[in-house]
Structure formats: structure tokens, C-alpha cells
Amino acid sequence: MFTHYIFIFLTILALFSAVMVIASKKPIHSVLFLTLTFFCIAGHYILLNAQFLAVVHVIVYAGAIMVLFLFTVMLLNLNKEERSPKPLWVKIIAFVAGCMLALVLVGVFRGYDIKVATDPAITQIGLVKNLGKILYSEYLLPFEISSVLFLTAMVGATLLGKKEQI
């Protein structure tokens, strides 16, 4: 029962902070609420016994991506409120569209009976040892290609961020 309470707490906190990301007027508040959401999702990973993913998630999202967003907001002094928010009818239509998408997704999943093989509390696949073995044997080529992707992204970001024209 204890995991249920943690699950419900994390879910409510994650949904609340996700809503606050959208509802905040200032971008810096959005970034901070986004970080809170990321931590909640890391907690969910731990609940699923996916410790490797939890650690990587905290490092990548709460570490790197949050810092990137914060630096962009602070360096460019973008922390202003929106001057011309979208009109109300656009918001209402977007809200209805989002609710209908949620309805369709939940409805689709509700009718489908998922076969559960194991209890995530006792499964061992999320541990670093097992995932590392698979990552370095079966998925070695994608792993190496992703490093090339990172290099490309790094070069591209540097090139885009340069002051003078190329």
C-alpha cells in the first residue's frame, strides 16, 4: 500500500507542476516547475525499479537540460511576461482539443487488456548491470551512432550560436 501512496503523491505533484509550467506567466517559473516535474518522473522510474533510467534522467534532464533553459532565459533576459497572449477562444479550443485527445487515449487503452508478466517491484531488468550488458552487446551500434549524433548537435549548436555571419 505504501507504494500506492507514493505513486499518487508523485502523480499529483507531477500533474500540478506540469500545469503550472503552462500556467506560469514568467518563463523562469516555467523552467523551475519543469524541473519539479522531472524530479517527480525520476521518482516514478524508481518506483518502477528502473534505477539506471532514474539516474540518467536526473543527470540529463534536471542537470543538463534545465541548466540550458535557465541559461537561455537569464542570458537573453527573456524573463518578461507575454505581451500579447492568445485570445480566449483559442485557449478554449485548445483546452477542448487537449481534453478530447486525453479522452481518446484513455478510451483506447481502457478497452485493451494488457498482459502483465512481472511485478515491477521484483523485476531486475532496470538495474545498471543488466541494462549495461544489453546496451554494450546487442545495442552497441546505436549506442556509438548516438555519440556521433551528440557530436553533430554540439557542432551545430556552436555554429548557430556564433556571433558573426558564416
Binding site: 507504494t3 502523480t11 507531477a14 500533474l15 506540469a18 500545469v19 509550467v21 503552462i22 518563463p27 522531472f38 518522473i41 516514478h44 522510474y45 518506483l47 518502477l48 528502473a50 539506471f52 533510467l53 540518467v56 540529463v60 534532464y61 543538463a64 537540460i65 540550458l68 533553459f69 537561455t72 537573453l76 505581451r83 500579447s84 497572449p85 492568445k86 483559442v90 485557449k91 485548445a94 483546452f95 482539443a97 487537449g98 486525453a102 487515449l105 487503452f109 481502457r110 502483465v116 508478466a117 512481472t118 511485478d119 515491477p120 523485476t123 531488468i125 532496470g126 541494462l131 544489453i134 546505436p142 551528440f150 553533430t152 548537435a153 554540439m154 551545430g156 549548436a157 548557430l160 550560436g161
Partner: protein
Amino acid sequence: MTPISTIPIHYYLIFCSTLFCIGVFGVLVKRNALVILMSIELMINSINLLLAAFSAYTNDPAGQILVFFIMVVAAAEVAIGLAIVVLIYRTTHSIDINVLNKLRW
């Protein structure tokens, strides 16, 4: 087969769908390019969590490997996206996406 104390996987389905829809709503409503990028991050995160949940419940490690690769691509995407946002700010002195209507039909 499974003890009663296990969280049903439908809870994860509902939670991740809701999170995804909040992200969609943010993309539709906001005009700030930064907040739109953040909403995209929300969507990516909800998908990641659902993949990890299915992988944990069906005892298949491929799902968690896929989540790892999605994180890699998301990090690269954010780096490039924020560089583009900085460029937009330099040329137009605003990150309102309504300024970017030169290619509009």
C-alpha cells in the same frame, strides 16, 4: 499472478496520457518559443515514462534501452532548439512565435 499491492499499469497509462495532453495544450496555447520547447519536453517525458512502465511490467529490457536513446535525442534536440531560439532573439529581439510569419502562406 501479480500481488494486489502492485500498481495497475492502467494508472500509468492514464497519468502519461494526461501529461502528454498537458504538453499538447501548452504547444497550442503558448506564444513563447521557450515554453513551447518545454511543453515538447513534457510530452517526451510522458512517452518515456510509459515506455519504461511497459518495459518493467512485461519484463523486456528493450523498452528501457529505447528510453535511453530517446533521452539522447531529446538532449540533442534541446541544444539545437535553444540555439535557434537564441538566433531568433538576436534577429527579431523577441521570442514570440507570431513574429515568425515570413513563411506563412
